[in-house]
Symmetry: C2
Subunit: 272 residues, 2 copies
């Protein structure tokens, strides 16, 4: 019986290309994978679809869409078009959702409300195409330390407000422990999200964190209370697959099989 | 006419001890200073009081109290006692408030709700003494990236909820741009804070931020929209002094007079 765990391929992106990473995930007992676009494009869409299908693994997510305002209003249409192409790609590889993040401020901008407004505008523009293709958009709030350069939407509350504004149809919520563990409203907003939760990503917060992007932690090595968050998510109605996603210079420097074996062991001992 | 600007002495803590820093602040036209406890203890309480009085500058804050649960429940009473001593010291140097932060998780703990509860418990325990001494406790939410190791209270919403719970008397709110700029509820919660705002700290968010603690930015070098936040704070009823507080390896490596001259110039051109 496979683990109820998926491997976000960024976790081993320095060790393996997509075909090797998918093979390793299957060998270590993962039930799914979540590829990033760069890896999929390198391997090719058709080839990726075949590899994933042959592996018997689910494709639990495709990373990552959104970022509508990150290059400014003059490039909003290009960002929308690119997200539509990404939706087509997600459908082609049978991804269960696209992970959608806010995107940062446009170069030179200090206008966070404007960036947020462009995110909502872009999301509204691609949503009909996502619905037509049957591709769920999983809205992922990012940790506030990324507000300037990656994810201007930082809280579950704000993402849920946006989903409500757009009518929710075709939209889900991705709860990533790394991004939301600090939130004093965590329980309330996870409960509010309810059946809209379509992804549950796991990654630990290290103390100290030496780099804002590439010093994330293996479950158990940091301070996040995984069982507590899991109970909240389950109480909200999501008992689906979890997905491990760790950006880490340390783990990128270890053999891929060691990373996967450790993730599986920690998932069993720390997260369940 | 002096600037409506105070100097948090941490900004030049590598260049000067307290007497030199206060002298320099007066010379550069600041209207106040905010010392840290280590600097005050090094100089001595009575001597600090005399230096500040003679300088003609206001003492806009004393840094920093709170952190009640950071060493665990077994040390909560010691933290409470230490905060009471700090209140006495603040009264002795005529500080207008003590900046109070949440404190991180106790060593080995993953229980953020427990840390938050200890913060509230400790705050409630010292509040009568603060009221007796006429020392305002300025509650400062910290950026969520400090939730584990410095400030478990991360949002204005949560600090205001705590202040409401404790009856508000003797409690104020410190709005530090660096800690709150990302908050989607910024306008709503500043408006809610209203007359409870007793401190307005300024510091910029750099992109990229190379170190979580010591790579904060001079106003104008980052992405924070200072005029927008100033307008929110003023609309809420606070038009008092602002206080520049920058933890920065870069600025700690520059001559103190250059740092102060730059802060004054940026305050005039970027923040007003």
């Amino acid at each position: 019986m496979p683990l109820n765990l998926s491997l976000n391929l960024a976790t081993v992106r320095m060790q393996w290309k997509l075909p090797q990473a998918v093979e390793a995930a299957a060998r270590h007992g993962f039930a799914g994978v979540a590829p990033w676009r760069e890896m999929v494009q390198e391997t090719g869409i058709a080839q990726t679809a075949r590899i994933c299908l042959d592996s018997g693994l689910r494709v639990t997510g495709y990373c990552r869409g959104g970022l509508f305002g990150a290059d400014g209003r003059e490039n909003l249409k290009a960002a929308i078009d690119d997200n539509k192409r990404m939706i087509d790609e997600a459908a082609a590889i049978a991804a269960e959702c696209i992970v959608v993040i806010g995107g940062g401020l446009p170069p030179g901008s200090r206008d966070l409300p404007a960036a947020r407004a462009m995110f909502v505008e872009g999301l509204a523009a691609v949503l009909p195409h996502a619905r037509d293709c049957g591709v769920m958009l999983a809205l992922e709030p990012m940790h506030p330390m990324y507000a300037a350069d990656r994810g201007c939407i930082t809280t579950l509350r704000e993402m849920l407000d946006i989903a409500d504004t757009l009518g929710n149809d075709g939209l889900g919520i991705a709860v990533d422990t790394y991004h939301v563990w600090w939130d004093p409203e965590l329980r309330v907003q996870i409960d509010r999200a309810g059946k809209r939760i379509v992804a549950h990503h796991i990654c630990d917060w290290l103390v100290p964190t030496k780099h804002m992007l590439t010093d994330r932690g293996m479950m158990g090595d940091g301070v996040i209370d995984f069982p507590a968050i899991r109970r909240m998510v389950e109480a909200a109605g999501y008992s689906g697959i979890q997905e491990v996603e760790i950006f880490s210079d340390y783990w990128w420097g270890r053999p891929g099989d060691e990373v996967l074996a450790t993730a599986v062991e920690r998932f069993k001992t720390v997260c369940t």
